[in-house]
C-alpha cells in the first residue's frame, strides 16, 4: 500500500504557519498591555515584556473552552459543530489546507508590514481578512458570511466591522472618564507621591490585559490547527484540542510577546499621547475592563482597537494633555485597510498555490512567506527599535523611530 505523504507535508506547513501567526500575534500585541507601563517607567522594558509573556502563557493554558468554530463567524468552511465542510476534506483535506495556509500567510505578512511601520493594527482583523480573502479566491463570494442573520451578532459585519467601529469609542469614553476622575480626586496629592503609587495600579491592570489576551487570542490559533488536523483526518474529537496543540500555541504567543514588537510599543506608548502614571492606570484599566466585559458578553473585539482607544481617551481626559492626531490618523488608516489588505495578499497567495497545484503549490506559497518575512526583518534592521531606545523622546527622532507610512501604502 502506498501512503500519500503529500497532504501530511502540507499539514505540517499549515501547523508551522499557524504557530508563526500566533507568534506575530503575541509580539504585535505586547504593546496593548505594556506600552503605557513602559512609557511611564512603571516597569523596565525587559521586565514588562517578561511579565506579559508569562501571563500570556498562563492565559493561553487556561483557555480550556477552545472554540473549534473560530472561522465560522466569517466564512463557511465548517459546520456549526466545527466539522469541516466535507466537500473540502477530500484528498487529505488539501482544498481546506490551502485556504487556511493562504489565509495565515496573508495575516502574517500584514502583521509584519504594520510592525515594520510601527503601527498597532489588529491581529484578529489580519487573521479574519486572510481567511476571507483565501475563501473568496478558493470558493467564491458566497462562501463568506457577510452579514449575520437572526438575533445574534454574526458575519463579517456583526463580528468584525461593527465591533471595530464601536470598541475604540467605548474604550476611549471609559478611559476619559477614569482619567478625569483620577486627576480630580488626587488634585491635592503631591505629584511624586501620586505617581509612585499609581505605578502599582498600572502594573496590576496591565497584567490583567496580558492574561485576558493570552486567553482570547491563543485559542484562535488552537482552533485553526485543530481544524486542519480534523480536515486531514488526524484528529476526530470535535469537543477538544490536542494537548500538544495547546502547549505549542501557548509557547508561540508567549515567545512572541517576550520578543516584543518594540516599534509598536513605541508608537502606542510615546507617539500617541505623552502619558503620566495616573493616565497609564486609567488607560490600562479601561482596556482591561472593556476586553473582559465584552468577551463575557460575546461582543468580539480586537485588543488593539481597545488599547488604542483607551490611550487616546486618556489624552482627551486630562487637561493640558494632547493627542498627536497625525499619529492617530495613520493608525486609523492602517485599521481600515488591515482586513482588505490581508484578504488581498491571501487571495493572491491562494491563486499562486492553486495555479502551481498540489504539494509544489504549497511549497511555493510557503517560500513566498519566508522570502517576504525575511525581507521585512532585514529591512527592520536599518532602524532597529528595542528595549534600549523604546522610550526615547518622540520628537527627538522623527524619522528614525516614528517611521513614516510610505506613500504607496497610504494611497
Amino acid at each position: 500500500m502506498v501512503v500519500d505523504i503529500a497532504p501530511m507535508i502540507v499539514l505540517g506547513m499549515v501547523i508551522l504557519t499557524s504557530l508563526a501567526f500566533d507568534f506575530t500575534n503575541g509580539f504585535h500585541d505586547t504593546a496593548n498591555a505594556m506600552a503605557t507601563s513602559i512609557a511611564t517607567g512603571a516597569l523596565k522594558p525587559k521586565a514588562a515584556v517578561s511579565l506579559s509573556a508569562i501571563l500570556n502563557l498562563v492565559g493561553a493554558f487556561l483557555s480550556v473552552e477552545v472554540a473549534l468554530t473560530v472561522t465560522n463567524s466569517v466564512i463557511k468552511i465548517q459546520d456549526s459543530t466545527g466539522a469541516p465542510n466535507p466537500a473540502l476534506t477530500a484528498d487529505g483535506g488539501s482544498a481546506l489546507l490551502l485556504i487556511v495556509l493562504s489565509g495565515l500567510i496573508g495575516a502574517i505578512l500584514w502583521n509584519l508590514l504594520t510592525w515594520l511601520l510601527g503601527l498597532p493594527s489588529s491581529s484578529s482583523h489580519a487573521l479574519f481578512g486572510g481567511l476571507i480573502g483565501a475563501t473568496i479566491a478558493g470558493l467564491g463570494f458566497s462562501a463568506v458570511k457577510w452579514v449575520g442573520t437572526g438575533a445574534k451578532l454574526d458575519g463579517v459585519v456583526g463580528k468584525v466591522i461593527l465591533p471595530a467601529l464601536l470598541s475604540p469609542v467605548i474604550a476611549s469614553l471609559v478611559a476619559m472618564t477614569g482619567t478625569w476622575l483620577i486627576y480630580r480626586i488626587t488634585k491635592t496629592v503631591a505629584e511624586k507621591f501620586r505617581n509612585d503609587g499609581f505605578r502599582w495600579g498600572q502594573i496590576g491592570s496591565a497584567s490583567l490585559i496580558s492574561l485576558a489576551h493570552g486567553m482570547n487570542d491563543a485559542q484562535k490559533t488552537m482552533g485553526i490547527i485543530t481544524l486542519a488536523l480534523i480536515a486531514s483526518g488526524q484528529w476526530h474529537d470535535l469537543t477538544a484540542v490536542p494537548l500538544w496543540v495547546k502547549g505549542a500555541c501557548a509557547m508561540a504567543i508567549a515567545m512572541g510577546t517576550y520578543i516584543g514588537g518594540w516599534r509598536i510599543i513605541r508608537t502606542l506608548g510615546k507617539g500617541l499621547v505623552e502619558i503620566d502614571s495616573p493616565q497609564g492606570l486609567a488607560a490600562d484599566s479601561a482596556s482591561a475592563a472593556t476586553i473582559i466585559v465584552s468577551s463575557h458578553l460575546g461582543f468580539a473585539l480586537s485588543t488593539t482597537h481597545v488599547a488604542t482607544g483607551s490611550i487616546i481617551g486618556t489624552g482627551l481626559g486630562r487637561k493640558g494633555a494632547s493627542v498627536r492626531w497625525g499619529v492617530a490618523l495613520r493608525m486609523l488608516v492602517a485599521w481600515l485597510i488591515t482586513l482588505p489588505s490581508a484578504a488581498l495578499v491571501a487571495a493572491l497567495t491562494w491563486g499562486i498555490g492553486h495555479l502551481v497545484g498540489g504539494l509544489a503549490g504549497a511549497f511555493v506559497v510557503f517560500a513566498i512567506l519566508l522570502v517576504a518575512a525575511g525581507y521585512m526583518l532585514w529591512h527592520s534592521r536599518k532602524n532597529p527599535v528595542g528595549h534600549h531606545n523604546v522610550t526615547d523622546e518622540w520628537e527627538a527622532s522623527p524619522e528614525g523611530l516614528a517611521p513614516e507610512l510610505p506613500k504607496e501604502v497610504v494611497r
Binding site: I182, L208, G298
Partner: protein, 99 residues
C-alpha cells in the same frame, strides 16, 4: 440593519459595565491615594505643612482592599470561565459553579 441595532445594544452594555469597572476601580484607587497622602502628610501633600493622620491610612487601605478584591474576583472569573465554571453571587459570597 438588525445587526447594527444588536451591536449598539451590546456596545451599550459593554460601556456601562466597563465604566463601572474600568473607571470606577481606578477612581477607588485614587481615593485610596488621596487618603494615603492625607495619612502620610508632609511631602505627600501639595501643601507641605500637612500633618500625618492615622485615619487617612486606614481609609487608604480599605480603598486598596476593595480594588484588590475586585481584581481578584475578576481574575477568578476569567480563569473560572476558561475552566468551564461560572462565578455565582447567589448567596452574596462568590461561589464557582460548573456550567
Amino acid at each position: 440593519m438588525s445587526q447594527i441595532l444588536l451591536a449598539l445594544q451590546a456596545a451599550g452594555q459593554v460601556l456601562l459595565a466597563a465604566v463601572i469597572l474600568g473607571a470606577g476601580l481606578p477612581a477607588m484607587f485614587s481615593l485610596g491615594m488621596r487618603a494615603l497622602a492625607y495619612g502620610n502628610g508632609g511631602s505627600a501633600e501639595v501643601e507641605v505643612e500637612a500633618q500625618p493622620h492615622v485615619l487617612g491610612k486606614v481609609l487608604a487601605y480599605i480603598c486598596f482592599g476593595v480594588v484588590i478584591i475586585a481584581v481578584m474576583l475578576g481574575i477568578s472569573w476569567i480563569v473560572g470561565t476558561g475552566m468551564g465554571y461560572k462565578l455565582s453571587f447567589e448567596h452574596f459570597l462568590p461561589v464557582f459553579r460548573k456550567k
